[in-house]
């Protein structure tokens, strides 16, 4: 933004960073980019039962300049790729991308001439969301994981260097575990590997 880049690194800034990140994550307006079946699930997520408004995201914008996060939902054809890039370029900073579904993430089962084999060939992706299509809970999970990432985002180059040097990454904890009122209740039929889905909750996020 300019100002924070000139500020010295310090305790105050760490708190400011948290505040800034909190404001950023609390009302991310999605630029919907529904391309195929995943768009149905994205719409379902945006509709009443899942109540995306809880995360300040109820305004699905077709106006990229007013959007913060692009949800690429569905397979991206080579013909669509430049459009996708243009929409991304038109979004104002800071901006994020969720690659929703396997087709957007890697081409999925469409390993052919027409489909971009992963939307990260075109735009930088922050969260990959597998599934064909992912259910609304999965999209919510991806959004919440993105929130966690945004909360850890450094403010300014000095902080960014610190973060890089410390090697810390945001742990990708399943949202139902992270926000559970009673995590023990979650084990059992859902996943025999335990509440976390078999993923050890290690700091640093690397398994």
């Amino acid at each position: 933004m300019g100002l924070e880049e000139k500020l010295p690194n310090g305790i105050l800034l760490a708190s400011v960073e948290k505040l800034v990140n909190w404001t950023r994550k609390s009302s991310m307006w999605p630029a919907q980019f529904g391309l195929a079946c995943c768009a149905m699930e994205m719409m379902a997520t945006g509709a009443t039962p899942y109540d995306l408004a809880r995360f300040g995201m109820e305004r699905f914008a077709a106006t990229p300049r007013q959007a913060d996060v692009m949800v690429v939902a569905g397979r991206v054809t080579n013909k669509m790729a430049p459009v996708l890039r243009q929409v991304y370029d038109q979004m104002s900073d800071p901006k994020w991308v969720i690659s929703m579904g396997v087709c957007a993430s890697s081409g999925g089962m469409f390993n052919n001439y027409a489909i971009v084999q992963g939307v990260d060939h075109v735009v930088p992706v922050d969260i990959y969301l597998p599934g064909c299509p992912p259910r609304p809970e999965m999209l919510l999970d991806a959004i919440l994981k993105l929130h966690a990432k945004i909360m850890d985002e450094p403010l300014g180059p000095a902080r960014a260097r610190d973060k890089l040097e410390s090697g810390k990454t945001t742990p990708m904890i399943p949202s139902s575990v992270k926000y559970a009122k009673d995590p023990d209740k979650l084990a059992g039929p859902r996943d025999p590997n335990g509440a976390s889905g078999g993923i050890p909750l290690v700091e640093g996020g690397k398994r």
Binding site: Y50, V102, C132, P136, S176, P189, R207
Partner: protein, 176 residues
Amino acid sequence: MGVLDPLKGFGITFATMFRKVATEQYPEDYRPTEQRYHGRHQLNRHPDGLEKCVGCELCAWACPADAIFVEGGDNTEEQRYSPGERYGADYQINYLRCIGCGLCIEACPTRSLTMTNFYELANDDRQNLIYTKEQLMAPLLPGMEQPPHPMRLGEDEQDYYVNGPELARKAQEEAP
């Protein structure tokens, strides 16, 4: 139209705040999926902890998205991972390709590969979404032992694939 009418509207909003919510409260309130929901995979074990996977690659063959990679290996008497001769030495599922169709489950001749209901897979690193064998293996339940180890249930693979459950039950009954 009374003077207080506009406030009535606020009243409804205010009152609703104390009502039971009708929407999904996903992250705080997890609702189980249907039992046969196609979540992430799991490689199962025999009752003594040996792997059921024989590395036959039929799952990889069945996969329409080419998301599975398997490489077989030789069991030896010293290094035994599964009953019989062959085991899956390397097993990877790329969840960025997997469409959860479950054809792999149908193809599996030993019921080694099944699907759990776990779905919160989103990640910020593509590499992490290629699940390796260690991640896919089922956890060790009581009575199981981490392979490699010799066959505990019986002499040959018949005791595992045909008589396995029965033998396991017997062993449990005999145990104090």
